[in-house]
Amino acid sequence: MLKRVWAITQKEFITTFRDRGTLAIILLMPLVQLTLFAYGVRTDVKHIPMVVADQSLDRASRAYIDDLVQSGYFDVVQSVPDQAGVVSLIDQGKAKLGVVIPNDFSGQVDRHTASILFLVDGSDPFTTQSAYNAANLIAQQHSVQLVLEELSRLGSTSSGFSLVPLTAQIRILYNPDLKDLWFFVPGMIAMLLQIQAIILTALAVVREREAGTIEQVLVTPIRPGELMLGKTLPYLLLAIINLVSIILLGTVGFGVPFRGDFVLFFWLVLLYIISGLGLGLLISSISQNQQQAQQLAMMTMLLGLIISGFVFPHYSMPIVLRGISYIFPLTAFIPIARGIFMKGIGLPFLTNQVLFLVVYDVVILIIAARLFRQTLD
């Protein structure tokens, strides 16, 4: 049996390695993608273009705008006379945030009746969110500062009481400087490996069927299971090469710290890659031609990307969707990757995910083998 599997493996190796173009794509693409995405994706948006309609132009209004600008979140791109001007600039896409400060701002602040209107461009989700959060926080800080100044002026007689009795310390674990790279590299590794694994095997069977060579293989004494195994092994090797190069690039190249146990991570990734290869084989056995296989593979990748928790947080999805998301092994692997990479946690914290992957591997390979045999008959 081993001999037969080995023969198939050899044959797959030869076909894969002869096709230099494809091989180059397989080995280099993940690295290129990791580099581009790692540098391209910025979640914390700074220097958001802001338009100001300051109708007071007094000390209070200028102090207010200074606070917004000094935060580094906003750049004043233009000053306009009124709200209509602000809306028109946002319509044209020249500004993402607008501030409208009414007449007699100083006086209103003294009387505690001032109100400021922020207009946010709601068509660009990330910028909107950052602009909204930052403006909200800065505006509040400014107003708290004003109250405290006022209090200290009034309460100057009662000396020695500290102004704000409560300080909240906010500590961000694992990534204290909020580096985007640190956030993204673990998830990105998980995603790229999944995509690689699915792509590698999705066409493996269907291509031979379309080319007609599967008949030739079938007349040999090779059994379906052996054929499948033989077809998977070379790709497993390629996937491991991908894995090592991606991790090296992420840690050594980009300086993302690897806090956990590398050996543990390696074994779990292996488990994970097998699930991806299995999923690819499954797609390959149910597809009639390469076109269908490609469409299914693309969809699997895209959906995995969306609902696995890589881009959007998993816990805020509806429960049904969270259930569906476990069709994709990526969903179980993202907590593993982030956990070992960033948090440095070990197996005891990850038992559920690891068990899930083991079961997933076994089930998907059995189903793929069944379907594979069926399509052969």
Binding site: V144, L151, Q295
Partner: protein
């Protein structure tokens, strides 16, 4: 000329019947985008509320409970776990059970009286979304609560003078108006972009296969034996796919408006017109892939790359103006990058050509150039 047109028509006919005959394929082509839309629509949440939070309240007094309640009432945090101390909170975050934690030291009330209370808020920094919304929410709530306490105290100690301040506690009220999407609905943010993404994906994936598949099966030779010219061949293959893309666009747009209730602000006619250069550009990109790729496998890998780039670099999820030069440059080779702005502009903002013409121009130029390069490439490969 007449004969040319006849040849193209014959090709279109051939491609159309090929497309329609394979029912399963067709089902995939139209069904998958719909599935994508639904999953996307329900998966995307950009403002994160209800972060699961562990609470280690070592005081258990009125003030500490008040503070925790302020955090929970904000809707940003859900009190899901009770812990004893910081170590336990930390462990819960390590295990991924909660995304945030708060540690309130003993004697909180007394310390507040003395003016030196402090609370520790921990956030899971391995999840960028949780950190982003968690951080600003926690900072604001703590600040607000601190100010309330300060005012309360001032009223007690400062007597009449300070009660004037207390009267209308805040000197400035900030109101926010989110233009185009006043209720902050996540789907409104993403639908216009997702629409483009789905259509581009269908166009690129289909077009990427047409030439290379025919070459792999060997039927290319037969077509080449006819007097058809390369450009005509591309045209014949393009028209049925163009129709297919419009069908997908129509279905997604219909679902978005009727099912998901997105309000279409602008002119629908303009939208359908401007979708034409976008679809042509996407098909062109697919053809280019098809002429470059040696076999279907390579074509698939290249179109996967296009898909990934579109997802991450086109401005669909992550903002483009904060990207470094090279990723931004790569993004500008994707038709989607331009169409996202057009789509958001028309659907959400309701703007017209005057605000959109630079992107429209880019798409027109893009589609002409990419088609020209693809057919040149194609001709070269045939010889």
């Amino acid at each position: 000329m007449y004969r040319n047109r006849l040849r193209v028509l014959a090709l279109i006919q051939k491609e159309t019947s090929q497309l329609l005959r394979d029912v399963r394929n067709l089902m995939y082509m139209i069904g998958l985008p719909i599935l994508e839309l639904f999953l996307f629509a329900y998966a995307v949440s950009l403002t994160v509320y209800h972060l699961p939070m562990a609470v280690a309240d070592q005081s258990q007094d009125q003030r500490s409970r008040e503070f925790v309640r302020a955090l929970v009432n904000s809707q940003y945090f859900d009190f899901t776990l009770t812990a004893q101390d910081e170590a336990q909170v930390r462990e819960a975050i390590d295990a991924g059970k909660v995304k945030a934690g708060i540690v309130i030291p003993p004697d909180f009330s007394t310390k507040i009286e003395n003016g030196n209370a402090s609370a520790l808020i921990l956030l899971d920094g391995s999840d960028s979304f949780s950190v982003q919304s968690g951080y600003s929410a926690a900072a604001m709530i703590a600040q607000d609560y601190g100010l309330d306490l300060a005012l309360e105290k001032a009223e007690r100690t400062g007597g009449q003078q300070a009660s004037a301040v207390e009267g209308s506690s805040r000197p400035i009220t900030n109101s926010f108006r989110v233009l185009y999407n006043p209720d902050f609905r996540d789907l409104w943010f993403v639908l216009p972009a997702i629409l483009g993404m789905i259509v581009q994906m269908a166009a690129v994936a289909q077009a990427a296969l047409v030439v290379v598949r025919e070459r792999e099966i060997g039927t290319m030779e037969q077509i080449l034996a006819t007097p058809t010219r390369p450009l005509e061949l591309l045209l014949g293959k393009m028209v049925p796919l163009l129709v297919l893309c419009y069908v997908i666009l129509g279905i997604i747009l219909g679902l978005g408006v009727l099912w998901f209730g997105v309000e279409f602000q602008g002119s629908i006619n303009l939208y359908l017109c401007l979708a034409l250069p976008f679809i042509l550009a996407s098909l062109g990109l697919g053809f280019l892939i098809s002429t470059v790729a040696k076999n279907q496998r390579q074509a698939q890998q290249l179109s996967t790359v296009v898909m990934l780039f579109s997802m991450l670099l086109s401005g669909l999820v992550y903002p483009r103006n904060s990207m470094p030069l090279i990723p931004r440059l790569i993004g500008s080779f994707l038709p989607l990058t331009y169409f996202i702005r057009i789509s958001r502009g028309i659907i959400l903002k309701g703007v017209g050509m005057s605000a959109l013409w630079p992107d429209v121009l880019m798409l027109v130029v893009y589609s002409v150039v990419v088609m020209a390069v693809a057919s040149l490439n194609f001709k070269k490969r045939l010889d």
